[in-house]
Amino acid sequence: MKKFINNVDHMLTESLSGFQKAHADLVSLHFMPNYLTRKQKAVNKVAIISGGGAGHEPLHAGFIGKGMLDAACPGQVFTSPTPDQMIAAAEAVHADKGVLLIVKNYAGDVMNFEMAAEMLPFENATVLTSDDCAVINSTFTDGRRGVAGTVIVEKCVGSIAETGADLASCKALGDKINAQTASIGVAFTSCTVPAAGKPTFEISAFDIEMGVGIHGEPGRKRETMREADAIIQEMITAILTDLGDRTKDAEVLLLVNGLGATPLMELYLIFNTAEKCLQEQGITVARSLVGNYTTAIDMAGASITVCVLDQEIKTHWDSPVHTPALRWGV
């Protein structure tokens, strides 16, 4: 395994320190418990806090800043953060209008954020993201996973919070976006968790994992590698099947997200095909985002996210944002 590591036990700390130094104009870092906040604390708004395991960078700390998150709590790699982190972060960024937690739907994240919410001394609410349509909701699944669609939720909820909206309104927007967003990922390789020292799963040079999760969890099916258009068509079909009637003549946001090791050149190729597939179905891509936004460390692969837009979502997607990973309008 070749990674930039000194001592694997210190890797997270060193990375967080470097992140804070690189973005010293935007973020502050606190250790023990670990959390990051905006450098300039906001006042008189709902505090938007998210978090999750490390390994998905820039999610979530990369999205701290005006127009998006107030704080982010990083857990160990692929491991949810713990309640003490969220409680400390909330105490640091609370701005008198309550706290909104944005949580990706995984058992660990849900339970740790739930316990934090129970213990928080402030009014609070939770938005659960569950945009992954690869694992179909049935009696055999514990709901859907939260993946790259989380970025859209964080952007728009962050935006509405800046307007002074109350806790209920912030949550309502987040829940609405989540309900009309669908994602699916595909892996060409596994990821390697540094502490584990070897790939999370085995996959041959001839196969792809359709519906892979952002922790390297196996997805729907192991399939044979084929040309890009065929893979992308399958992914778009899965997404459109999931979104159903919502996409009829709709305007959408198309997010092509790299899982870590796939080059931008390929991500844009994916966007090219995905946009064509959507157009063929009478769907207009009105907003776009391409890049590494919700990674799985070093996985070769990508995910596609489609969010059905309305005027409210467009307004909040377009609004100014100033974070390490996303910046426009400022």
Binding site: T79, D84, N112, M115, T141
Partner: protein, 213 residues
């Protein structure tokens, strides 16, 4: 027997050692149908408890268990943290109310811990999780204690229940945790959480029947 903090500390050491010994068994399961971090998380928890021994020495058992719960909650992360923390909190609360003065009382406290864990994780037997070990063990512990079996016999019964519970996970379809969504591909593999619980229970039982000096 009476539940004493001294025993709890020795049990933590036994668990830590057993987890390390069984690392290959646990890891291979989590990689087959999980995401490979279960062992690291559980070991981190065991290390954390062992490092607390000075802080815990001399405390009543229920206070020790509570402190362990809070430490685990901030240390383990993932699903295991809240679940194990809830288990120890439930056990602590029961001992505080009823005392851990005899074997049956300890069995009931263990069951109360499992109950709290179930409440937090909203799981049940048959979903291919640690509950497939913990629930049968809780039943067996109480039933064997009711029958006034010897401590040695009870430990044998518990270890068997844990092994049987673990084996039962092989042919279940995972519906919780990171293996869920694998559907039928999760069949044929044991659950890593069930395995680590079986390893821990076995370690504690072995400690009870063969104390070191």
């Amino acid at each position: 027997m009476i539940l004493q903090t001294d025993f709890i500390l020795k049990a933590a050491l036994s668990i830590q050692a057993a987890i390390i010994t069984h690392k290959p068994d646990i890891e291979v399961l989590d990689q087959a149908i999980g995401d490979g971090d279960h062992f690291i998380n559980v070991l981190r928890g065991a290390d954390a408890i062992v490092s607390m021994s000075d802080e815990l020495t001399g405390l009543p058992a229920d206070e020790a268990l509570n402190k362990i719960a809070i430490k685990l909650l901030s240390t383990i992360g993932g699903a295991a943290g809240p679940l194990f923390a809830s288990f120890f909190m439930g056990m602590a609360k029961n001992i505080k109310q009823n005392g851990g003065h005899d074997t049956l009382a300890i069995a009931v406290a263990f069951a109360a811990g499992v109950q709290a864990l179930i409440k937090r994780g909203k799981g049940k037997v048959g979903e291919k999780t640690m509950l497939d070990v913990l629930v049968p063990v809780a039943h067996t512990f109480i039933f064997s204690a009711i029958e006034n079996k010897t401590v040695t016999a009870i430990c044998t019964d518990i270890k068997t229940a844990a092994e049987d519970g673990l084996a039962s996970t092989r042919d279940l379809i995972a519906t919780k945790g990171r293996a869920a969504g694998l559907g039928e591909r999760s069949i044929g593999h044991l659950d890593a959480g069930a395995k680590s619980c079986q390893v821990m229970i076995q370690a504690v039982c072995n400690l009870v029947v063969q104390p070191l000096f």
